[in-house]
């Protein structure tokens, strides 16, 4: 029972990270109806930025905040330079651009930082907090994730800019007619997604260690989380993240073994797409043809 509880708690911690990344995917999806395959690599690159800052002697939290800010700007730059030109291109062309972005970021990081696995510090104390069930980093990661999610919720729900971003994603034509600069709202969305991804990267790095391929698995879980929740539902993505995190850990520890953990994500993806394509919180889309 104790071991089980421990796995559930650990699952919640990684689940929070999947939830953040899934939310980043959903934010881009809502605005563009495309899944940004490079979201994980963007987060990975951000984490390396944080690593550089900390290695240069900056204390953890200032480095954390600066990384989030830089990632936000990088997200905007990527949207403006890479995504904007293919705005009206066919879906497959955009997907190719996303994959190119993934490969470029991955290689660029390997080129700058080498592929050697590095350890990444946790800002939380080392000794155990909640008895035997949860490490301080896991608890801290959940806390940070929840704070980020809460901040995002408040931003989208209560600020005029958040409202404008939601409007621009839903109805670009009407948005222009009330004076919203829709293009900039998309860029801001990319910035926010990149910033959220950066937090996820910095929270997962102490667990999976820092290397250019660290987000490959995480992105798969996040993708599964977004699909379970419904790819167009932010709340669903968050719930999905926690569900996937717990499932992955519990099944990995007691049922299928750690080596096959990643297949949980794949099974979830295929299962959801086959039997409930709209996810558990998403809308069913009906199109007249």
């Amino acid at each position: 029972m104790e071991a089980f509880l421990h796995q559930v708690m650990a699952g919640l911690a990684t689940g929070g990270i999947y939830a953040s990344l899934a939310l980043a995917l959903v934010m881009i999806y809502q605005a563009t109806h495309l899944v940004n395959f490079a979201q994980g690599e963007m987060a990975m690159f951000s984490t390396y930025i944080a690593w550089s800052l900390i290695n240069a002697g900056m204390p953890y939290w200032p480095a954390f905040l600066l990384t989030v800010a830089i990632s936000f700007l990088l997200g905007i730059v990527i949207e403006r330079i890479v995504i904007r030109p293919v705005e009206n291109a066919p879906v497959l062309a955009v997907v190719v651009v996303f994959i190119a972005l993934l490969v470029i970021l991955n290689s660029l990081t390997g080129w700058i930082y080498t592929y050697t696995i590095k350890s990444f510090p946790s800002p939380f104390p080392q000794e155990m907090a909640l008895g035997r069930f949860m490490s301080p980093h896991e608890l801290g990661a959940i806390g940070v994730t929840l704070l980020v999610l809460l901040a995002l919720y408040a931003f989208f729900r209560f600020t005029p800019l958040g409202l404008a971003m939601r409007a621009a994603a839903q109805n670009p034509v009407s948005s222009r007619l009330v004076g919203i600069r829709v293009g900039w709202m998309l860029a801001l969305g990319w910035g926010l997604a990149a910033a959220v991804g950066a937090v996820a990267g910095m929270m997962v790095a102490p667990i999976v260690y820092l290397d250019p391929n660290m987000m490959g698995g995480v992105l798969l879980y996040a993708f599964a989380a977004a699909l379970v929740g419904g790819i167009d539902s932010p709340a669903g993505a968050v719930v999905g993240g926690f569900v996937v995190g717990v499932l992955e850990n519990v099944l990995g520890a007691f049922v299928i073994g750690n080596e096959l953990k990643l297949s949980v994500a794949l099974v979830l993806i295929i299962g959801v797409l086959l039997f409930k394509p709209s996810g558990f919180f998403g809308k069913v889309h009906v199109t007249r043809v």
Binding site: P160, L163, A164, R166, A167, Q170, N171, V173, S174, S175, R176, L177, V178, G179, I180, R181, V182
Partner: protein, 235 residues
């Protein structure tokens, strides 16, 4: 003149819809564009706020606005009540209204305008927190007019506000539009298929056929015109 349009051309892709329209709108007036389906009324309104590719000259309040982006034209005080109402279906009624005031920075005046809009359309106050997609067609039309009002516009472009409304509601909506013009001095460019109602409300009107103005005059003159009477008023 608040609006001066010269030799306006517009179209969709290869299809040309407007072939050199000329018209003007006096400050404080309601001007109607009348015409059959496909004459180019909606396209004219879209051309005025750069929603379609256009050529020609458009002056608003003395300034050239052709070639500017939609968002910038809106910022000059041109509010468009679009064809199909343009409701933000997943947002609440109040959020829809607040979006109308998105470009404004005078917070207090926005709150006052919200109260005023609710005064014109008490129904919207009742539906304030409700998802706008669940409103009836008539309520969404009121919402579209209200959203435009929230911009505190100089000019409102109204695309078939009577579309899909019960006759009683049309009458109510038009009397509110008349109120808005007389109380707030908002000028309006009204596109309508319901020519009788439009001529009741408007001071002047232009008759459009296949992308050109074929007749213009005061509403009284057009009502008396035999061709208009037979083709558009139906008696």
């Amino acid at each position: 003149m608040l609006l001066e349009v010269k030799n306006l051309h517009a179209g969709y892709g290869q299809t040309r819809v407007l072939h050199g329209m000329d018209f003007t709108l006096e400050k404080g007036s309601i001007t109607a564009l009348l015409g059959a389906n496909g004459a180019g009324k909606t396209t004219t309104l879209r051309a005025l706020c750069a929603m379609v590719k256009t050529g020609g000259e458009i002056r608003f309040d003395g300034e050239r606005i052709d070639g500017r982006a939609t968002e910038d034209i809106v910022r000059l005080g041109v509010a468009h009540v679009p064809d199909g109402r343009g409701t933000f279906l997943n947002l609440s009624t109040e959020e829809n209204l607040r979006l109308g005031a998105y470009t404004r920075r005078d917070r207090k005046a926005v709150e006052a305008d919200l109260a005023r809009v609710f005064g014109y359309f008490p129904r919207l106050r009742e539906r304030r927190g409700q998802q706008a997609g669940t409103l009836s067609g008539g309520e969404q039309q009121m919402l579209a007019v209200s959203r435009a009002l929230m911009l505190a516009p100089k000019l409102m472009l109204l695309d078939e506000p009577s579309f899909g409304l019960a006759p009683l509601l049309v009458r109510e909506l038009f009397s509110i539009l008349r109120d808005i013009r007389s109380r707030e001095g908002v000028s309006m460019l009204l596109v309508e298929q319901n020519a009788a109602m439009a001529l009741e409300l408007a001071d002047r009107a232009y008759l459009i056929e296949t992308g050109r103005v074929v007749l213009e005059g005061t509403s009284q003159e057009l009502k008396r015109n035999d061709a208009v009477r037979r083709s558009y008023l139906g008696y």
